[in-house]
């Protein structure tokens, strides 16, 4: 009997291992922000923030916040040496122009066709898309980062999204706290599973088409 325990850190840790030095990465608000904590020490990624900076640094020391230096979530941040600032048109030129290697976004629903819904629950929660639609449409590789299940117990991985889409067919990979999937041929392809979960358990608990890759393995890191 396998019992599911939500684990956001395992998602962030796995995603951080995709990056290589020099990659330009945009991390969304919430769970995706955690990814920044796990980038290996020997890898230097360039973090982009859509409000207008490249070379995002850590939070400032207490008392050193600058009112003119925030991230896209309005939190005070710092900029690393060699970083730079730009206006919103340039920022989205970077994003839409394919100059961002990875964007990592949160999920309300993601489906096997690579559709993502993460900005609106009609009649309930309408925060707006912000920069998410541009990030998903423009980034080279789109990673959806999410706990595998909703509070209700249903998997967030679907046959077909029912909520309004953020973008159609743009998601490349999904990393949850049970495994890592790539989107291919209208299916979720399970590449890695995280113990104690097994491919059989994941397929049983997920109402979507999943195939297990021939080289799928148990990832213990």
């Amino acid at each position: 009997m396998i019992e599911y325990v939500e684990d956001k850190d395992i998602i962030a840790r796995r995603i951080a291992r995709f990056f290589k030095s020099g990659d330009v990465v945009n991390l969304g608000i919430g769970l995706p922000t955690l990814v920044g904590n796990y980038v290996p020490a020997d890898v230097t990624v360039i973090l982009q923030s859509e409000n207008g900076l490249l070379g995002l640094g850590p939070a400032p020391a207490p008392g050193l916040a600058d009112k003119d230096l925030t991230n896209a979530g309005a939190q005070p941040v710092t900029i690393l040496p060699g970083g730079c600032f730009f206006d919103s048109a340039t920022s989205f030129g970077i994003i839409r122009g394919g100059h961002v290697d990875y964007t990592v976004l949160g999920v309300l629903e993601v489906d096997q066709h690579g559709n993502l819904a993460n900005y609106k629950i009609p009649g309930k929660m309408v925060p707006g898309m912000g920069g998410a639609m541009d990030l998903v449409a423009g980034s080279r590789i789109v990673i959806a980062a999410t706990t595998h299940f909703e509070k209700s117990g249903a998997a967030k991985l679907k046959h077909r999204c029912s909520l309004p889409l953020t973008a159609a067919g743009e998601v490349d990979m999904v990393v949850t706290d049970v495994g890592f999937f790539i989107l291919m041929g209208g299916q979720f392809r399970l590449m890695e599973y995280f113990p104690p979960y097994t491919p059989e358990w994941i397929m049983e608990k997920t109402d979507a088409d999943i195939v297990v890759a021939s080289d799928c393995f148990c990832c213990k890191e």
């Binding site: 923030s49 859509e50 409000n51 207008g52 900076l53 600058d66 009112k67 003119d68 230096l69 925030t70 991230n71 896209a72 979530g73 309005a74 900029i79 600032f85 730009f86 206006d87 919103s88 048109a89 920022s91 989205f92 994003i95 839409r96 559709n115 309408v126 925060p127 707006g128 898309m129 912000g130 920069g131 998410a132 639609m133 541009d134 449409a137 423009g138 309004p164 889409l165 953020t166 973008a167 159609a168 067919g169």
Partner: protein, 223 residues
């Protein structure tokens, strides 16, 4: 070089007439012209259309409102054209109650529509929003086998922007991420009022370091 008038905040607010389309710089309040916005709250001008990245932040715990949020609370906008309203519960309430129309626009599309308005373009083609609700009612064009949406320019009557520094000619320099939409809005509105922290003499800003050329700016306000 011609000097630009330096006016007070109340005088600036009085230039915003009822019914105007007002572009306001800032990203969740960072880089908004707070002094001019406070004067506009005091003036109480209604029936405005807001063009801004977002409707700023009302802190759920403290109730502190920044950027354009006090104008929202004061019911001064009948319409808001923005990319994000998730940090202002009052915007959501007014939208749900039918007190204010909210048009949600993807952030990059918003930036380009403003840029198009200020740059003499009839619109822009973007892949953002294809296959989503955003495409509804819009012309789709296929260029080199890729589908784009035609997004129209978004001009304004008045731009209320914020810069770190101006010279008396109106050349502007922004600070860090407080730049955001400000330089785009400076190009896109009939009347441009720049609130700045410091006004220096003509010649004191290196021409190579100017972010917004003086010709876009009509009035300066010392913030």
């Amino acid at each position: 070089m011609i000097e630009k008038p330096v006016i007070g905040t109340a005088e600036a607010a009085a230039m915003v007439k009822s019914g105007a389309v007002v572009h306001v710089g800032g990203f969740l309040g960072c880089g908004s012209p707070d002094k001019v916005l406070a004067a506009l709250v005091a003036a109480g001008t209604k029936n405005l259309t807001l063009v801004c990245n977002d409707t700023a932040v009302i802190n759920a715990k403290t109730g502190v409102a920044n950027g354009v949020a006090p104008l929202i609370q004061n019911h001064q906008f009948s319409r808001a054209i923005v990319s994000h309203i998730g940090t202002n519960a009052e915007t959501q309430r007014q939208m749900n109650a039918g007190e204010m129309i909210v048009d949600l626009v993807p952030q990059g599309t918003l930036a380009e529509r403003i840029r198009a308005a200020g740059n003499g373009l009839g619109g822009i083609l973007t892949p953002t929003g294809v296959g989503t609700e955003v495409e509804e009612g819009k012309t789709k064009l296929t260029v080199n086998d890729k589908v784009y949406l035609l997004e129209e320019p978004l001009p304004g009557d008045v731009a209320l922007i914020k810069a770190r520094k101006a010279d008396r000619a109106g050349n502007l320099v922004y600070s860090k991420t407080a730049r955001n939409f400000n330089p785009l809005m400076a190009t896109a509105c009939t009347l441009v009022i720049a609130e700045v922290e410091e006004i220096v003499e003509i010649g004191d800003i290196d021409p190579d370091q100017v972010h917004t050329p003086s010709i876009f700016v009509d009035y300066l306000v010392k913030g």
